[in-house]
């Protein structure tokens, strides 16, 4: 970009965003960011601003945009309550490694610390949940700090960055504005080379394995190594399981796909974790929801852990070989060292486990008006690439378990923080990327009511989001936990809900309700064929529990297929 002369700080912020390739900003105006809005006004063609209905919506939309696009998502809000309303989304992005830059307005510098109207110490309280944050109090800092912010958000293990910019910094005049992208920070080494020794050790283990298992996580998608994963799995004849956030990195009907690991994952994936002899974990962090009891997790296996964040290696599970590296670089180094193998009986074991889960759980769920059935019908009726934006709770597990992800599809959901209300605003962000032919937002009745106001954003911008509401008039996962661990004391799990169809119709969005199995397929078809936003409420069974489940404190291979087994 040519240098600019005598521009305001606000103009500099806008130009910096344009230089970083930002085309969409999700935001909400307020007293302390209005100078930036005034600058946006003159750059309407370059930057699209999307007015959400609540700041939490802005940050989740930025996350949805970032996850769908593999680019940095941006949200812009004002000081005080605008800033505090971001916190949930920032924490969410931190746990799920989502690259976002959040810009908050702030009171003028002389008022900092004097309890001015809408002043709050956002830099202080966002510190534990940001990868980096900074307060800009002078316009002269804007170019270098914004360049640093975008570099930090997207490089290495991605994450949220917050910039707090005082109003006087937005209005000051910069004599000469020069923008250079940041490519290096002395104290920050985001992309380390895999060490040759560890790569060789990993290859030896894999070549000698009798029962190898690969688990892929979000890191596979972040580094874009789906092809390498597939090549390695096929070369080694190695089954591939996935974490929740890694689901769309392998086509789910691949014969080597073992399913999802974890608490409500697939039976085969969990049983094989504690039966394999070599466990190759790629871009995942062994979260408690994945591993069950850590003392009894894959103790029989030599674990190879490929992970870009050095602090994750050995944090929960001590690997036999730890490879600190970007997943793609590591797999590219390992692949040429791998000999072609075949593991027929091991794969047969997988198919037996899969058959058992089909017989005892899946087939029954698909024969009734249950969450899994509704999701499966969407999976079958959709045509073209689809982003499944799932909320949190039973609806999320049903989405993960019953949608069959194909190349081009993506799951976008709140994995680490488990943020109810994530899906509706995140689907707005995903819709803006135009990366998918369909954006399907799957929610329960609890989460829907947490960010229901974003229906207004969908209405105003005519976003073609397909909203599938799996309504059981219950906080289903809570009811399930009360059922399993609290003597079925269903205390505060049941909800008296409004007429959702009427609410959605009031926003001018096409809406319908289904309460019997026969009506499901035609309704889903109508939704998926409709040109524009569509809301489908499915009145699913009221008392459905998600099985299989790893009971609390148990090992992954102590997973229960039914309440009685």
């Amino acid at each position: 970009m040519e240098n600019k002369f005598n521009i305001t700080g606000a103009e500099a912020i806008t130009l910096a965003l344009i230089e970083e390739g930002v085309d969409t900003v999700f935001g909400y105006p307020g007293g302390n960011n209005l100078p930036v809005y005034d600058s946006f006004y003159t750059h309407e063609k370059e930057i699209r601003h999307v007015l959400v209905r609540h700041e939490q919506g802005a940050v989740h939309a930025a996350e949805g945009y970032a996850s769908a696009n593999r680019r940095v998502g941006v949200c812009m809000v004002t000081s005080g309550p605008g800033a505090t309303n971001l916190l949930t989304g920032i924490a969410d992005a931190q746990l799920d490694s989502v690259p976002i830059v959040c810009i908050t307005g702030q009171v003028v510098k002389p008022q900092l610390g004097y309890d001015a109207f809408q002043e709050t110490d956002v830099v202080g309280f966002s510190m534990p949940v940001t990868k980096w944050n900074y307060q800009i109090t002078s316009a002269s800092e804007i170019a270098s700090v914004m360049a640093k912010a975008f570099y930090i958000a997207r490089s290495g293990r991605p994450g949220p960055v917050l910039l707090d910019i005082t109003k006087d910094a937005q209005t000051q005049i910069i004599e000469k504005f020069e923008y250079k992208k940041c490519t290096k920070i002395r104290s920050y080494h985001p992309k380390l080379k895999p060490s040759e020794t560890s790569v060789n050790e990993a290859a030896t283990l894999l070549n000698n394995a009798q029962r190898p298992l690969m688990i892929v996580g979000h890191g596979v998608l972040l580094s874009g190594c789906q092809d390498e994963v597939k090549e390695l799995a096929e070369k080694l004849d190695m089954p591939v399981a996935s974490t929740l956030l890694g689901l769309s990195s392998v086509e789910n009907d691949n014969p080597l796909f073992a399913g999802m690991v974890g608490l409500h994952g697939n039976y085969a994936a969990n049983m094989m974790t504690n039966r394999c002899d070599v466990l190759l974990a790629v871009g995942m962090r062994f979260s408690d929801r994945v591993i069950g009891n850590p003392e009894k997790y894959a103790t029989q296996a030599a674990v190879i852990h490929i992970e870009i964040d050095p602090s994750e290696v050995g944090k929960i599970i001590s690997p036999a070989v730890g490879i600190v590296s970007d997943a793609k670089s590591a797999l590219q180094k390992i692949l040429p060292l791998i000999r072609k193998s075949s593991h027929i009986s091991w794969l047969n074991q997988m198919r037996e486990f899969q058959a058992k889960e089909n017989e005892t759980v899946i087939n029954e769920n698909l024969s009734k008006l249950r969450m899994g059935k509704a999701v499966r019908v969407v999976s079958e009726k959709k045509s073209g690439s689809t982003a499944v934006v799932a909320d949190v709770g039973q609806n999320q597990m049903a989405s993960a378990r019953y949608f069959s992800f194909q190349p081009g599809d993506s799951i976008i959901t709140s994995g680490g923080l488990g943020t109810m209300g994530f899906a509706l605003p995140a689907s707005i962000g995903a819709a803006y990327t135009k990366k998918f032919q369909n954006v399907v937002c799957i929610m329960g009745d609890g989460g829907f009511q947490m960010t229901i106001e974003e229906l207004g954003t969908i209405m105003q911008y005519k976003l073609p989001v397909k909203i599938l509401l799996l309504n059981n008039n219950y906080l289903g996962m809570i009811r399930q936990l009360q059922d399993l661990y609290y003597n079925s004391h269903y205390y505060f799990g049941e909800m008296q809900n409004p007429d959702f169809v009427k609410i959605v119709e009031a926003y001018g969005i096409k809406a319908e309700k289904v309460d019997n199995l026969e009506a499901l397929e035609p309704a889903v078809k109508r939704m998926m064929d409709y040109n524009g936003a569509y809301f489908l409420e499915v009145r699913v069974e009221k008392q459905e529990n998600i099985y299989p489940v790893i009971p609390s404190g148990k090992a992954v291979d102590e997973m229960l297929l039914t309440p009685n087994n």
Binding site: M127, Y134, I185, Y188, H189, L192, S311
Partner: protein
Amino acid sequence: MNRKYTLLIYTENHVGLLNRISIIFTRHKVNIESLNTSPSMEEGVHSFVITVNTSLAQAEHLRKAIEKQVEVLKAFLYEEKQVIPMEVALFKISTANLKSGNALEKLIRESSARIITVEPEFLVIEKTGTQSDIQDFLRQLSDFDVREFIQSGRVIVTRPMGKLKDYLLELEKQEEE
């Protein structure tokens, strides 16, 4: 088993870094026993010396969480036998003590402490040593009516011979282009 560990942390010299580091201890509910910050040999690089009583696993986890911060250059973890520690303490005592015999002067001499200023009303003694040297000295001073006592955070030199610059060069070599 809980033991004393010392973290030596090199950082950029930026506003807010102390907070970013200290909240990591808060989050893990580990108490900071002592903390010292000062400029380092390298220009623009600040050092933190933090001591904690905790398990080795927890201390190593803390080290990694600290080193993960964008503006932290490097964090090292040391056991007691790997460091040579020192602390400094100041004691304010009434000058009248000097007039009532030479017991105080004798104690100061024998303890390798020194008087750094004598005012009409009070004098200030400085004692450099380990935590226990200083505590011993404070106990011995109990007969002399200590009016004020303050002790610095721990500073250390470490036994390994590596230089910060070498570690940083090493890291750069490991980076992908």
